[in-house]
């Protein structure tokens, strides 16, 4: 057979193989919520504070890697992902195993209200509570992903007793964001990791390595860190469970931008729903920030 013919057969073989790949495979990949970044994704801390004080929304960092591994989830037990550092693999495994639990985080950041959040295992339901400097809750927001890339939000404003319902807001972006990238509501709040799935993805993507040990809330921990540009992310991991318990995000100019304490709790559906209290007024936009 002439070479040309063989090459034609080869092309046909590749096409046949490719044609045999189920559409669902591509669909699974496309379904995930990727978060394209703009140039202004990293805002210097001073700017964050200034923006927050101005009431225009705080911005800090973007760690918006969401979703678990499509292929692993769909083909558990088949194939092999590229080997990674064993320690990080342990953390990922623990996070994946804890994915049936509810993710709970409390985040603080200079110049931004304290944020507390609860997320379902896959991050599709995310409840954020915003607290003022005195510790009083000022706002409740529930984000519900209705389909890939589409997020509805219910906002309850405790400061002026109003509530609103918004459709197709931008997905909540963890760890703060520029106003343009962040959700349409709850901009002015310290934002850290939002779900187990997001942490798992972060561990895959950002080249974490072990950088030390410590004690967090009486628990022996080890620290894994990664650097993205001039931003450092340090995750304290419970030595006994391999689950992250604290995430610290810093930059040289401001070593403490966002600190998040993380708990892994049994699922409490009441925290993943939000009903406006009786007597609150329905408005077009109850966003307080």
């Amino acid at each position: 057979m002439p070479t040309d013919t063989f090459e034609t057969e080869l092309r046909a073989a590749f096409d046949d193989i490719a044609a045999g790949i189920p559409d669902a495979a591509a669909a699974r990949v496309a379904e995930h919520r990727y978060a394209p970044r703009s140039r202004r994704r990293v805002v210097i801390p001073a700017a964050c504070v200034a923006i927050a004080v101005a009431g225009a929304g705080a911005g800090a960092l973007v760690l918006n890697r969401q979703s678990s591994h499509a292929g692993r989830a769909a083909h558990a037990g088949t194939g092999a992902q590229a080997p990674r550092v064993q320690l990080i693999a342990q953390v990922r495994k623990a996070v994946a195993a804890a994915n049936g639990d509810m993710f709970h985080a409390v985040s603080t950041a200079a110049g931004a209200p304290r944020g507390e959040r609860w997320a379902s295992a896959d991050g599709s339901r995310l409840h954020i509570a915003v607290f003022d400097a005195a510790g009083t809750k000022t706002e409740d927001i529930l984000y519900v992903t209705t389909s890939p890339g589409h997020v509805d939000a219910t906002v309850v404003n405790d400061a002026n007793h109003t509530w609103s319902q918004e459709s197709d807001v931008l997905p909540p972006v963890p760890a703060g964001a520029t106003p343009a990238q962040g959700p349409a509501v709850a901009k002015n709040v310290a934002q850290g990791p939002t779900s187990a799935a997001q942490i798992e993805q972060m561990l895959v993507a950002d080249g974490f390595t072990k950088t030390g040990t410590g004690v967090v809330d009486g628990m022996a921990t080890y620290t894994i860190s990664a650097t993205l540009g001039d931003t450092t992310i340090a995750i304290a991991v419970d030595d006994s469970t391999n689950l992250p318990v604290h995430v610290h995000i810093g930059q040289p100019a401001n070593p403490s931008i966002v600190d998040s304490s993380i708990q892994w709790l049994p699922v409490d559906q009441s925290l993943l729903t939000l009903t406006p209290p009786a007597g609150y007024t329905h408005v077009a936009n109850a966003d307080a920030s």
């Binding site: 057969e9 080869l10 590749f14 046949d16 591994h69 292929g71 080997p83 343009a180």
Partner: protein, 188 residues
């Protein structure tokens, strides 16, 4: 202004994912012959592209960039990297010894490929580098120079890897054909 720019970027990215996912998963599968891994690699590719989307979206061929990311992800697996380097190194040593692939004529007769499954199996059994150059050459339609640039080797190395892969495929197919003829039922 920034909001509009971000929304535009988001829309462009969504369209890019929508248009290129299928092709990327297919290429990833042909490179790995592991569907789960192919999906993971495609997802990781989009994640990385998303991280630089503001720059990439202005490129003439964003998909080419994504393909480059994908190939590097495949290449970057530690065990793969070791194997790929060994294979590329072997090709380089062949260069040094003056190995001439042309000593096996490209127009040598082959068994007719009647059974594509045999070819598919042979492709799956190829060393990864050899399969990669074939995928990039005959599925992605890249030139040898483009493949060399992607893999970080010389065009000559790509040429030899291609030749080796083709030779191995032909041997496999011929062996299969011969085996079939030897064991063919008399009534056939």
């Amino acid at each position: 202004m920034t909001n509009k720019r971000t929304r535009d970027a988001r829309r462009q990215f969504d369209a890019f994912v929508r248009d290129s996912t299928s092709g990327l998963v297919r290429t990833a599968y042909l490179l790995t012959f592991d569907l789960a891994e192919a999906e993971d690699l495609a997802q990781e590719t989009f994640t990385r592209v998303a991280a630089r989307w503001d720059s990439i979206r202005h490129m003439e061929h964003p998909r080419a960039y994504a393909r480059r990311v994908l190939v590097h992800l495949v290449y970057d697996g530690a065990s793969r990297r070791a194997r790929w380097r060994a294979e590329l190194s072997a090709a380089t040593h062949d260069d040094a010894r003056g190995f001439e692939p042309a000593d096996r004529s490209a127009s040598a007769p082959f068994a007719r490929i009647d059974d594509m499954t045999v070819l598919q199996r042979a492709l799956a059994a190829l060393p990864e580098v050899q399969r990669a150059v074939l995928v990039l050459r005959y599925f992605e339609d890249l030139t040898e120079a483009q493949i060399a640039d992607l893999l970080g080797c010389s065009p000559g190395t790509v040429k030899k890897a291609t030749w080796r892969a083709m030779a191995r495929l032909r041997d496999t197919i011929e062996a299969h054909s011969t085996g079939c003829a030897d064991h063919a039922p008399a009534t056939r």
